[in-house]
């Protein structure tokens, strides 16, 4: 099949799935946070607020697109574009599963199988700071300026330990391509411990690298406890104080997109990508079906005791859909294509959940403490860790 056509179709598909996922990560965040905080979260638009993201998008698009008079127009308008662009590009090199074959077409589950995918992601996410810094400067607002400055310093500082942490599994697995990285994490140690990167090599060092990576990732994506650039209690809204309507939504999208990218990278580099957590002989291929059957059972149970009148009709429908998905995973032909995608998304969602959980629990660092943490604690540990792993690789 025509390479160009295939790529266009894949790009459209990935963009569609990514943008939908973005909206629903935001829904998930609001729901989980709400339940941590004794609230119920969005509930009005659609069953359990499932159409809330759609309503938000409509609202943000139809809002008046106002440009304050005191801003530097060129950079003010450029900044959100840059932020979204550099947030969306990295997803192109991320593989979501193994190769698939549909009829005559055989294709990878990523847009581009770069042999230097990891470096590409590091490079592009490093550019992301331009959007934030420019918006802070171009807004001509003191709060925005402080937010932009904080953000630039923070993102640049945390890129170093992050790069060090990423280099560790690369040393052990000896490749820069995501696909090969995941392939070399296949199989099981002693028949039951998955050969994920964190369980490979000299024992604690790769787990340390994973933790450093996650901490740096929280800082890179400006999330609590590192959300200083937009610390609303200090800097109103930080760098996007002067932005409204879709321009604000662009920054919002960029933040969640970066979150998804970082979770994907963590899954691919450290958590074995699309490989299951225990061998297929022990029944790991039934897990997705079991989860969806469980979800269907919960739906039917709640439909029997509806808390709202509509639940009596909506929940059984959701339950039947879940049962259908469970059935799909039992079809052998489809299962081989879908299982990797399932395990990959499951791991990404678990990490996303941790992100939200942390947001509901921790207070925020102070700016100088954050920088000191990066330079005097995280960075030295990352270097020592990398050095020790390098030594181990050289010796074996």
């Amino acid at each position: 099949m025509n390479f160009l056509l295939l790529t266009v179709i894949k790009a459209a598909l990935v963009a569609f799935i990514l943008l939908t996922a973005l909206a629903y990560v935001q829904w998930l965040e609001r729901k989980v946070l709400a339940h941590i905080q004794l609230r119920v979260g969005p509930r009005r638009v659609g069953p359990h607020g499932l159409l809330q993201p759609l309503a938000d998008v409509v609202k943000l698009i139809t809002k008046e697109d106002m440009i304050p008079s005191h801003v530097n127009k060129v950079f003010y308008l450029l900044a959100p574009f840059l932020a979204v662009m550099f947030a969306l590009i990295p997803i192109a090199v991320i593989p979501f599963g193994t190769d698939i074959t549909i009829g005559p077409i055989h294709t990878n589950m990523e847009l581009a199988d770069l042999n230097i995918g990891v470096l590409f992601i590091l490079g592009i996410t490093g550019m992301g700071v331009y959007g934030v810094a420019l918006s802070g400067w171009a807004s001509n607002n003191k709060y925005a300026l402080l937010g932009g400055l904080r953000s630039s310093a923070q993102m640049i500082s945390y890129e170093l330990p992050m790069a060090m942490a990423i280099a560790t599994p690369l040393l052990v697995l000896n490749t820069l391509s995501f696909r090969q990285l995941v392939n070399s994490q296949d199989g099981f140690i002693l028949g039951f411990i998955p050969r994920w990167t964190i369980f490979q090599g000299p024992f604690p060092f790769l787990i340390v690298a994973f933790i450093i990576f996650m901490i740096a990732a929280f800082a890179e994506t400006n999330r609590i406890p590192f959300d200083l650039p937009e610390a609303e209690n200090e800097l109103v809204a930080g760098f996007h104080t002067e932005y409204g309507s879709m321009k604000f939504a662009a920054f919002f999208m960029a933040e969640y997109c970066n979150m998804i990218t970082v979770c994907c990278v963590a899954t691919l580099l450290f958590l074995g990508g699309w490989h299951p957590i225990f061998p297929a002989e022990y029944g790991s291929r039934f897990i997705p079906s079991l989860i969806f059957v469980g979800a269907a059972a919960i739906c039917f149970m709640h439909a029997a005791n509806p808390s709202r009148r509509l639940d009596k009709f909506t929940l059984p429908v959701v339950g039947v859909v879940a049962l259908g998905i469970a059935g799909i995973f039992m079809v052998p032909i489809l299962a081989t294509a879908l299982l990797p995608i399932f395990w990959f998304s499951a791991k990404v969602i678990v990490i996303l959940f941790v992100y939200i959980w942390v947001r509901g629990t921790l207070p925020r660092f102070r700016y100088d403490q954050l920088m000191r943490f990066a330079w005097t604690f995280l960075f030295p540990i990352a270097i020592i860790n990398l050095f020790l792993v390098g030594l181990w690789v050289a010796l074996t």
Binding site: K142, N233, L235, T361, P363, R366, D368
Partner: protein
């Protein structure tokens, strides 16, 4: 003196709204924080001069919430004024009711029955819990722990229900009146208060568990917001801020009112004199308040809940309809209000924020001649410029939260 209008009101307002003098050095930046800013807790404007992220000068600009309550009090009779004192401090209205009632009773020299005094203590302590819970929630929210806010408001909801049960109102209760309290304790109040107070200490433990075991919370609060004891005493700072510096000044102990001397409680103090110390002091105060509430609940005496002073206290409804004398008193109190002997008095009580005191001048008529409120928020806010000098913006937020001021209380 003849009233002189501004020559050009628009220009005057514009001059007032402009950011004050440009920064004293080109390396510095003037930042106008407020009046609408997420963490100034109301409409406080602080003009800060920054060098990088360090504050070199902070000037609070108060008065955005000035409602003229002190002046209004001169036009309402002694009973109606109670409802105005509610509006001074929306988090501690019972404390304001109490200090007003005590001040007027000092002038009237009437004896308040035991039960009314115990009910006053009970409600004042419930109110202290309410105020401290709101403080803890917003303070933690400022530092970034946003779930805390919702946990505190869960308990606050229980407290508001109790207040509604006692007085029929959730916030502006006007429960404590001159001569006693508005209503006797409702049926089943022991069960409601007991149910709440039994599980409350465990909730305080839960909050401490979330915050105290968290290294980020500690590095954000320890050693932050220091101000010398001499400065605090000079500026009139009272309450938990002073107790966090090691001075056990609590009006409930030093000049007991409303039979506080009959209750067994301690005044928690810390010596660190920082945001963390103030946090610990307030957490401990919540436990002590819970102790007082338990004692008040268990030892509540019987008897009347209003003083035997027919010229001040509204008569019983039944008596008013059957007895001529009561009807006349009722008519006099409702139409012109009770008359209070001429004189000047000063009375202080311990509000959740510090020492609140009313100074009342009466000229013997049925309205106050002058009512001055010495509010703790105003005194505590004076420490702000000293406290914020040479701190970081982020620390200023923590320090502001630890002062626990209410702008309605500051501006009156």
């Amino acid at each position: 003196m003849k009233y002189q209008p501004f020559e050009d009101p628009v220009a005057t307002i514009q001059a007032l709204q402009e950011a004050p003098a440009s920064p004293s050095s080109p390396r510095r930046m003037t930042l106008n924080m407020g009046p609408q800013h997420p963490s100034t807790h109301g409409v406080l404007r602080i003009v800060i001069e920054l060098e990088g992220e360090t504050i070199t000068e902070a000037t609070p600009d108060i008065g955005f919430l000035h409602t003229g309550i002190e002046k209004q009090c001169e036009f309402t009779n002694w009973h109606q004024t109670t409802t105005l004192t509610d509006r001074v401090d929306y988090l501690s209205n019972i404390g304001n009711n109490l200090v007003y009632a005590l001040t007027v009773e000092k002038l009237l020299q009437i004896e308040i029955p035991e039960r009314a005094q115990w009910l006053r203590v009970l409600m004042a302590e419930i109110d202290r819990l309410n105020s401290h819970l709101v403080w803890l929630g917003t303070h933690a929210l400022d530092i970034g722990a946003m779930s805390m806010f919702f946990y505190c408001f869960r308990e606050r909801e229980d407290i508001l229900r109790l207040k509604e049960m006692f007085s029929g109102q959730r916030m502006m209760t006007s429960y404590i009146r001159v001569g006693g309290v508005a209503l006797d304790a409702p049926r089943g109040w022991e069960k409601a208060v007991g149910g709440f107070i039994r599980q409350f200490p465990s909730k305080v433990d839960e909050y401490e568990n979330l915050l105290d075991n968290n290294p980020i919370w500690k590095i954000r609060t320890q050693g932050v917001g220091h101000i010398s004891i001499e400065d605090m005493l000079d500026l009139g700072v009272t309450g938990p801020m002073l107790r966090g510096a090691g001075i056990a000044l609590d009006v409930r102990k030093t000049e007991p009112y409303s039979c506080y001397q009959k209750f067994d409680f301690t005044v928690p103090t810390r010596t660190e004199n920082d945001v963390y110390a103030r946090y610990r002091v307030r957490m401990e105060e919540m436990r002590q308040s819970a102790r007082i509430i338990t004692q008040a609940m268990e030892g509540m005496p019987g008897g009347p809940y209003v003083a035997d002073a027919p010229h001040v206290v509204l008569p019983d409804r039944e008596k008013m309809k059957t007895q001529m004398e009561s009807l006349i008193y009722h008519f006099k109190i409702v139409t012109e209000g009770p008359r209070v002997p001429a004189g000047e008095v000063y009375q202080a009580v311990e509000s959740p924020r510090g020492e609140i005191a009313y100074y009342i001048v009466s000229d013997g008529t049925s309205k106050p001649y002058r009512l001055h409120m010495r509010t703790p928020s105003f005194g505590n806010l004076q420490a702000l410029p000293v406290m914020l000098r040479n701190t970081l913006i982020a620390d200023s937020i923590a320090a502001l939260g630890s002062m626990d001021f209410v702008l309605g209380d500051t501006d009156r």
